[in-house]
C-alpha cells in the first residue's frame, strides 16, 4: 500500500476525517487491483479545499482541477479515454456550491465517473464558511448572525437528476467506506458517495455521527424508498442508497470509440477531407 502514497507533506489537521477517506481509497485501489483493475487505469481528480489535498497524497495520475470544476475535468478525461476509471474528490462546497451544475449534469448524462464528496458542512480551507449543505443557523465568518438558509440534500437532488449509483459512507468506518468506493468505481455510470467527514477544526461531528450513523441492511428497492432514506435525519444510514443501470454517456453517444486512441491516421483524414472537397 505504501507506494500509493507520495512524498508530499500532509497538511491536514491531526484527527481530520480526510485521513479516513485517504486510507479507504488506497485500500479500495488495492482490492480493485486484486480484481484485475490495474492502478494505472485509475485516474483521479480533485477540486480545491482541504478535501482536495488528497490529490497530492495519492500516487496516481490525474488532474488537480479548479474549485468546483473537477467534476467537469474528470468527465473530460473519461470522455476522451473511456478505458480509464475516473474518480474525483470533491469538497461539499466544491460539489454542491461552485460545482453543483456540473454534478447534476454528470448524473443526468450518466457520465461514468465516481464522485467522492467530503461532507464536512464547511468551506474548511477558507476558514469555515457555510456550504450549501450546512444546517441553518451556522455561524461562519460570512454568516456571523447564523445562516438563514435550509441546506440542500445532495442525495435527493442526485436521485432526481438521474444518478445511477448513490451511497453514503463515514470516515470513521474505513472498511465500510472502502467497500463503497470499490463498488462505486466498479459501477458503470455515474456514482456518488456522500462521505460524512468530521472537520476537527471547524465542525467536529465525530460524536454526532458516531451516534447517528448505522449501516444499512438492505438497499432500497425503489426510487421512493431511496428518497425516503435520503431524507432521514434522525438517524444517518450509511451504505448504498440507489443503484440503477443505464448506458454510460460515452457509450450511448459514440459506442466503443476511444477518442484518445482510435484517432484516424493523418493519411486517412486528409484523404477523406480531399474527397469531401471534391465534386
Amino acid at each position: 500500500m505504501d507506494d500509493l502514497g507520495t512524498n508530499a507533506e500532509n497538511t491536514w489537521c491531526p484527527g481530520c476525517g480526510n485521513f479516513g477517506i485517504l486510507n479507504a481509497f488506497k485500500k479500495a485501489v488495492l482490492k480493485l487491483e486484486e480484481k484485475g483493475i490495474q492502478r494505472e487505469n485509475i485516474v483521479i481528480s480533485a477540486g480545491i479545499g482541504c478535501s482536495a489535498k488528497i490529490f497530492d497524497y495519492i500516487n496516481l495520475s490525474g488532474i488537480y482541477g479548479l474549485h468546483g470544476r473537477d467534476i467537469a475535468s474528470v468527465q473530460g478525461i473519461k470522455f476522451a479515454n473511456p478505458d480509464l476509471k475516473c474518480v474525483t474528490f470533491s469538497g461539499d462546497g466544491n460539489a454542491m456550491g461552485e460545482g453543483l451544475a456540473h454534478m447534476l449534469f454528470a448524473a443526468k448524462r450518466n457520465a461514468d465517473i465516481t464522485i467522492i464528496m467530503h461532507h464536512n458542512s464547511v468551506y474548511a480551507l477558507t476558514t469555515g464558511q457555510v456550504t450549501p449543505i450546512t444546517n441553518k443557523g451556522w455561524k461562519g465568518p460570512s454568516t456571523p448572525r447564523g445562516s438563514v438558509e435550509e441546506p440542500l440534500n445532495p442525495l435527493t437532488l442526485l436521485l432526481e437528476a438521474g444518478a445511477t449509483f448513490l451511497a453514503r459512507g463515514y470516515t470513521a468506518k474505513i472498511d465500510h467506506l472502502t467497500d463503497l468506493i470499490e463498488q462505486a468505481i466498479e459501477h458503470e455510470g455515474f456514482s456518488f458517495i456522500d462521505v460524512l467527514q468530521p472537520c476537527v477544526s471547524w465542525n467536529n461531528t465525530y460524536k454526532l455521527y458516531n451516534e447517528l450513523t448505522y449501516v444499512l441492511e438492505d438497499e432500497p428497492k425503489t426510487h421512493d424508498e431511496a428518497l425516503k432514506l435520503s431524507r432521514r435525519i434522525d438517524k444517518l444510514p450509511i451504505g448504498v442508497f440507489w443503484r440503477d443501470e443505464k448506458p454510460p454517456f460515452h457509450d450511448a453517444l459514440y459506442g466503443s470509440l476511444n477518442p484518445s486512441i482510435n484517432s484516424l491516421s493523418r493519411e486517412k483524414r486528409l484523404e477523406m477531407i480531399t474527397n469531401l472537397l471534391k465534386f
Binding site: 488532474i63 473530460g76 476522451a80 479515454n81 477518442p259 477531407i273 480531399t274 472537397l277
Partner: protein
C-alpha cells in the same frame, strides 16, 4: 453586358429561404467556374424581420461581397426599402408586387403565386433562384434541374412555382447578364467549416461547445461529421464545463478544441488559466460579434482583441492567431492545434462572424496541413513539469506505470503542490521560457502576411477585415502593401521593423482602435490613419477603397 464582378442580392424575412437562395446562387455562379463570396446578413430571430444574402462573383479570386448588386430581389417592402438604392449601374431590381406596388424596378407577384401551393416555406427563395436563372440566360431545363437538386422537399411544387416566376421575368430580363466563365469549378466552404476541416486535418479528436452565434455552426458541422471522422463532439451544460472538460481530455493525449463567442469565452477564462498552469494544450476558437455582453449576436466586430490577448489571471503563454481568409482559417487551425501541443499551452484562434459565417469558393491543399504534435516522454522517472532548456516538458498519457500529475496549484516538477518560494519562481521561469521558445520558433514560420504593392505606403489589418481590404484594393486599383499579422500573441514585432516609420493606414472593425493601439504599443508603428467600422456590418469594398484612397 459582360462584367468582371457580378453580384446577386436577395432580401426578405427569415424563414422565406433568403440564405438558401443565396447559397443556390453561389452554387450557380461557382458552377460557371467563377469564384464567389457570399455574406449573409440576418437578425437574431427565427421568422420575420429582415435578412439578406449577397453573393458576389468574379472569374478571379474574390474576397468580399459587394453591397452594390447587379441583380436585387426583394421579397417584401422592407427589403425594397433597404436595398432599392443598392442596385449597381445597369442592374436590375425585382420586387414583390403583392407587398407593395408602383415602385421602381420590376414587380413580380411572388406572394400570390406562392399561395397556390400548400407549403410556402422557402418558396420565395425558389422564386429568387428562378429570377437569377432567367437573368443569367439559363433555360428552364437548367432551372428545373437546379431546383430538383437544391430543394429536395416539395420539388414539384417548387419547380412549378419557379417556372411561373421565370416566365414572368424572362421577357424583360432574360439573359441580361452574360458572365465570363472561370477556369474551374470550385467547392464552396463556409468559414466555420474551413476551421472544422482544418482542425480535423490537424488531428482533432474531441470538440466541446455550448451553442453561441457565430460559433454555433462549428459545433453543428463537427457534430454532423463526428461519426464519419471518429470524433467525440459534445455539447455540455455550459461554457465553464466546456473548458474544464477540454483540459481533462487533453490530459489523455486527445487533440481537443472548443469554440464560442465573446460571452461564452468570458466564462471560459478561469479554465483558460487552468490550461496555462497545468500546461494543457487546448485550442479555443473565439468567433467575435459586437459586444459588450450580449451585444449584437448575428453581426460582426473585432472588439475582443485585447480581451483575448490577456485572458485569464496570472502569467502564462497565450497563443493568439487570427486568419485573414477562409483558406488561411483551414491551415491556421491545424497549425494552432500543433502549436498548443508543441508548447503545451492554451491558444485562441480569433475570428469574427464575418469569416465564420461567410462562404467562398476555395482551393485547399490538405497535404499542406500540419499535424498536431508534442514531445513524448520515453523511459522511467517521469516528471510532468521537468524544467528543460526551452521550458517544454515531455508529455505522457495515462494509462502509464509512471504517475502523471497536472496541477492547478503552483507545483514542483512532479506536479505536487508547492508554496516553496524556490519552486514558485522556478515554475514561473519555466513557463516563461516557453514564451521565448515560441518566439524563436515563430521566426521560422510565416507569422505575417505581406502582400507587396507598388504604392509607397501600407495598409495594416488583420482577421476577416483582411478580406475586405484585399478586395477594396482590387476594386479601387490601388496597390499599397498590405500587412496582416496572422499571429497576434506573441506579437511578431520582428516582421514589422521595415514598416515602422512608413506611411501606415490601419483598417479594423472596432470603435476604440484596439488593433492600431497594439501596433503602436507593441511594434512602435507610426500610424497615419485608422479606418474603423463598428456598426456590426463588414466593410464594403467600394466604400473602403474610397476611404483608403483618401487616407493614402
Amino acid at each position: 453586358m459582360v462584367k468582371e464582378i457580378f453580384t446577386f442580392l436577395v432580401g426578405g424575412k427569415a424563414g422565406e429561404g433568403v440564405k438558401k437562395a443565396g447559397s443556390v446562387a453561389a452554387d450557380v455562379l461557382a458552377g460557371m467556374g467563377r469564384n464567389v463570396f457570399q455574406m449573409d446578413d440576418y437578425m437574431s430571430l427565427i421568422r420575420g424581420g429582415h435578412n439578406f444574402s449577397v453573393v458576389s462573383s468574379a472569374p478571379r479570386k474574390i474576397y468580399s461581397h459587394y453591397m452594390k448588386a447587379d441583380l436585387v430581389v426583394c421579397f417584401d417592402k422592407r427589403s425594397y426599402d433597404n436595398h432599392s438604392d443598392q442596385v449597381a449601374e445597369g442592374g436590375i431590381l425585382v420586387y414583390n408586387s403583392d407587398d407593395k406596388d408602383g415602385m421602381n424596378g420590376m414587380g413580380v407577384p411572388l406572394t400570390s403565386e406562392a399561395k397556390k401551393y400548400p407549403v410556402r416555406n422557402l418558396m420565395f427563395g425558389v422564386g429568387a433562384v428562378a429570377i437569377l436563372c432567367a437573368a443569367l440566360g439559363y433555360d428552364k431545363k437548367y432551372t428545373d434541374d437546379l431546383i430538383a437538386q437544391q430543394y429536395p422537399k416539395g420539388t414539384e411544387d417548387n419547380q412549378a412555382y419557379a417556372s411561373t416566376i421565370y416566365d414572368h421575368v424572362f421577357p424583360e430580363i432574360g439573359g441580361k447578364f452574360k458572365l465570363e466563365e472561370g477556369d474551374t469549378v470550385r467547392r464552396i466552404v463556409f468559414g466555420n467549416q474551413a476551421i472544422a476541416l482544418g482542425a480535423i486535418a490537424g488531428g482533432l479528436s474531441v470538440y466541446y461547445a455550448y451553442p453561441m452565434t457565430p460559433a454555433s455552426s462549428l459545433l453543428h458541422y463537427l457534430a454532423a461529421q463526428a461519426e464519419k471522422f471518429g470524433l467525440a463532439v459534445i455539447h455540455p451544460e455550459n461554457e465553464i464545463a466546456v473548458m474544464n472538460m477540454a483540459v481533462g481530455s487533453s490530459f489523455t493525449g486527445a487533440k481537443t478544441m472548443v469554440g464560442t463567442s465573446g460571452g461564452g469565452f468570458a466564462l471560459m477564462v478561469e479554465g483558460f488559466s487552468l490550461a496555462g498552469i497545468t500546461e494543457a494544450p487546448v485550442l479555443c476558437v473565439l468567433s467575435a460579434r459586437p459586444g459588450p455582453a450580449t451585444g449584437v449576436p448575428t453581426y460582426t466586430e473585432q472588439a475582443d482583441l485585447n480581451f483575448a490577448l490577456s485572458a485569464g489571471h496570472g502569467e502564462f503563454l497565450r497563443i493568439v492567431a487570427s486568419p485573414g481568409t477562409l483558406e488561411e482559417a483551414f491551415y491556421l487551425t491545424a497549425q494552432m492545434l500543433d502549436l498548443v501541443w508543441k508548447f503545451q499551452t492554451s491558444g485562441i484562434l480569433l475570428t469574427e462572424k464575418h469569416l465564420s459565417e461567410s462562404s467562398t469558393t476555395i482551393e485547399l491543399q490538405p497535404d499542406n496541413i500540419i499535424s498536431a504534435g508534442g514531445v513524448e516522454f520515453q523511459g522511467n522517472g517521469y516528471k510532468r513539469y521537468l524544467d528543460t532548456e526551452d521550458g517544454v516538458s515531455p508529455l505522457l498519457f495515462p494509462p502509464s506505470h509512471e504517475v502523471i500529475k497536472w496541477n492547478s496549484y503552483e507545483h514542483d516538477d512532479l506536479g505536487i503542490t508547492t508554496e516553496d518560494p524556490y519552486w514558485i519562481s522556478r515554475m514561473h521561469d519555466k513557463r516563461n521560457k516557453k514564451i521565448d521558445a515560441l518566439k524563436k520558433y515563430m521566426k521560422s514560420i510565416n507569422t505575417v502576411n505581406v502582400y507587396r504593392g507598388e504604392h509607397p505606403s501600407n495598409v495594416i489589418t488583420y482577421g476577416s477585415t483582411t478580406m475586405s481590404v484585399i478586395e477594396a484594393l482590387k476594386y479601387g486599383q490601388i496597390n499599397p502593401t498590405v500587412v496582416q499579422p496572422v499571429y497576434l500573441n506573441p506579437f511578431p514585432v520582428w516582421e514589422f521593423e521595415e514598416f515602422k516609420d512608413q506611411t501606415n493606414i490601419v483598417v479594423e472593425q472596432s470603435s476604440t482602435g484596439q488593433f492600431a493601439d497594439l501596433l503602436r504599443e507593441k511594434a512602435g508603428i507610426r500610424i497615419k490613419e485608422v479606418i474603423k467600422r463598428y456598426d456590426g456590418r463588414p466593410f464594403d469594398p467600394m466604400e473602403l477603397s474610397k476611404k483608403i484612397k483618401e487616407g493614402l
